[in-house]
């Protein structure tokens, strides 16, 4: 297969196609005509300075921010609500109720995704326990999330994003305030999930944690994607 054919095949099977995406907040343009395609089963690290548009791009992909212009096609449809079951979103804030324990939080969010009904609460509990264990936390921890350390909260937030077993994971700063060892464990977990076929986007300022893990580094600047590199060093050398 020629290189051209290979590129064309990747484009045809793109899991996300973004075309001319513009997002304006008043007079400020957070995204300025982003056009990009992402292939399935890959881990993308989205990098850039503060204000480069990384979080806005992620929120647009999650369907939380409506584009001013342009379009997003995900899993073959432009109706992002129709595919929201296939998307896991982790934001910079935890998206968890501080007054409830991790298990109580996940039980509630599991119901939002229709993960078993009340008669099968055992199934729901086992799924919640599974994702909590996957992020190296204890499902039996009865403490409210508000009393967790910042790192534990980040991991519980990742567990919430994994709850619906999404095909696409959108993670905004998953390693912030997490100690290096736990962050490396989380990066390893993300690599495993990528290997199992998930497409993962990680917005981070801690790019070295994803060196050797991410398939591609996507560099953003002033609301645009300025380059895509296979390794971190060549991107930094730009």
């Amino acid at each position: 297969m020629t290189a051209a054919n290979s590129e064309s095949s990747a484009a045809n099977s793109a899991v996300i196609v973004v075309t001319g995406l513009v997002k304006q907040f008043g007079r400020f343009a957070a995204l300025r005509g982003v056009t990009v395609e992402f292939a399935p089963g890959r881990l993308y690290a989205i990098l850039g300075d503060n204000g480069a548009g990384k979080t806005t791009l992620l929120r647009s992909l999650a369907g939380l921010t409506r584009p001013t212009r342009g379009s997003i096609s995900m899993l073959g449809t432009k109706n992002l609500r129709a595919v929201c079951r296939e998307i896991g979103y982790m934001a910079h804030p935890s998206l968890l109720y501080d007054e409830m324990s991790g298990m109580e939080n996940l039980r509630y969010f599991a119901r939002l995704y229709g993960i078993s009904d009340a008669r099968q609460s055992g199934e729901r509990d086992s799924r919640c326990a599974e994702v909590i264990t996957a992020v190296k936390l204890d499902p039996a921890l009865a403490r409210p999330v508000g009393q967790y350390s910042q790192g534990m909260r980040q991991r519980m937030s990742l567990a919430r994003a994994l709850l619906n077993d999404p095909k696409i994971l959108l993670l905004d700063e998953p390693f912030s305030n997490v100690d290096v060892r736990s962050a490396r464990q989380m990066a390893g977990l993300l690599a495993e999930m990528r290997d199992s076929g998930k497409t993962i986007f990680v917005v981070t300022h801690q790019a070295p944690l994803l060196d050797g893990v991410a398939d591609e580094f996507v560099w953003m600047e002033a609301g645009q994607i300025v380059s895509r590199t296979r390794d971190l060093k060549s991107g930094e050398a730009r």
Partner: protein, 225 residues
């Protein structure tokens, strides 16, 4: 039960659990309503006959002001840690969230009314001369009118910078017909001078109309930026 119904109950149960643990809404509401009752009792010194004529207005104004305190809390806990975004990215229907919030507020305000009504009776020496069995109907219809609009407008003012001021500015004008019906119905029952039937029908119609309108537009409000 339908998925929307089951999600409404799950969200309601979650809200009741959070309120039970924090007691944010109920404590501030009770304290506020108690202050209003005491201040009103110092301001007026009516005879029993006069009380029957003014109590409807006093009671509902006190409940309206106290309800605003709870209504402001409704969405505050969804904004903390941006938990509302977790709901917005999920496939759960927007109306299940709205109904759960409205039912939760209905329960909180009803608890407040149940606790405050005996105080009003004592402070104002109240006794109904009309059909007293209609009072709980007025209370239920009136409370729903306040909370359904309040929940909706609290959601609308969520993303405004001064949302705690915005809520009463939006809620009070639109509540005038309902407030008028509540006050008139309550006064008619307390004095026994005229029938409350017209005001009850008006209140029921108001409830149906604004519940339908809120359900119709809530999804747009939830996903607005």
């Amino acid at each position: 039960m339908s998925r929307a119904g089951s999600l409404t109950l799950a969200t309601l149960a979650k809200d009741l659990r959070l309120e039970w643990r924090s007691k944010d809404a109920i404590n501030s509401m009770l304290f506020f309503a108690l202050l209003v009752v005491v201040i009103f009792s110092f301001s007026f010194d009516p005879t029993a006959e006069e009380s029957r004529h003014i109590a409807g207005g006093l009671v509902w104004v006190a409940f309206l002001f106290a309800a605003v305190v709870a209504l402001n809390q409704t969405w505050a806990r969804e904004l903390h840690n941006q938990v509302l975004d977790a709901y917005r990215v999920s496939p759960a229907p927007a109306n299940a969230l709205f109904l759960a919030k409205a039912l939760g507020n209905f329960i909180f305000v009803s608890v407040l009314e149940a606790l405050m009504t005996p105080l009003f009776i004592v402070f104002y020496n109240l006794r109904a001369l009309g059909p007293a069995y209609q009072l709980p109907i007025v209370a239920a219809l009136g409370t729903w009118a306040l909370v359904v609009n309040g929940t909706f407008f609290a959601a609308m003012s969520l993303r405004t910078r001064s949302r705690e001021i915005m809520l009463p500015l939006l809620l009070f004008p639109i509540s005038i017909p309902a407030l008028l019906a509540m006050v008139e119905a309550t006064t008619s029952i307390l004095t026994g001078e005229y029938s409350a039937k017209f005001w009850l029908v008006l209140l029921a119609a108001y409830d149906v109309l604004f519940t339908m309108a809120s359900l119709l537009f809530f999804e747009t409000v939830l996903h607005a930026e």
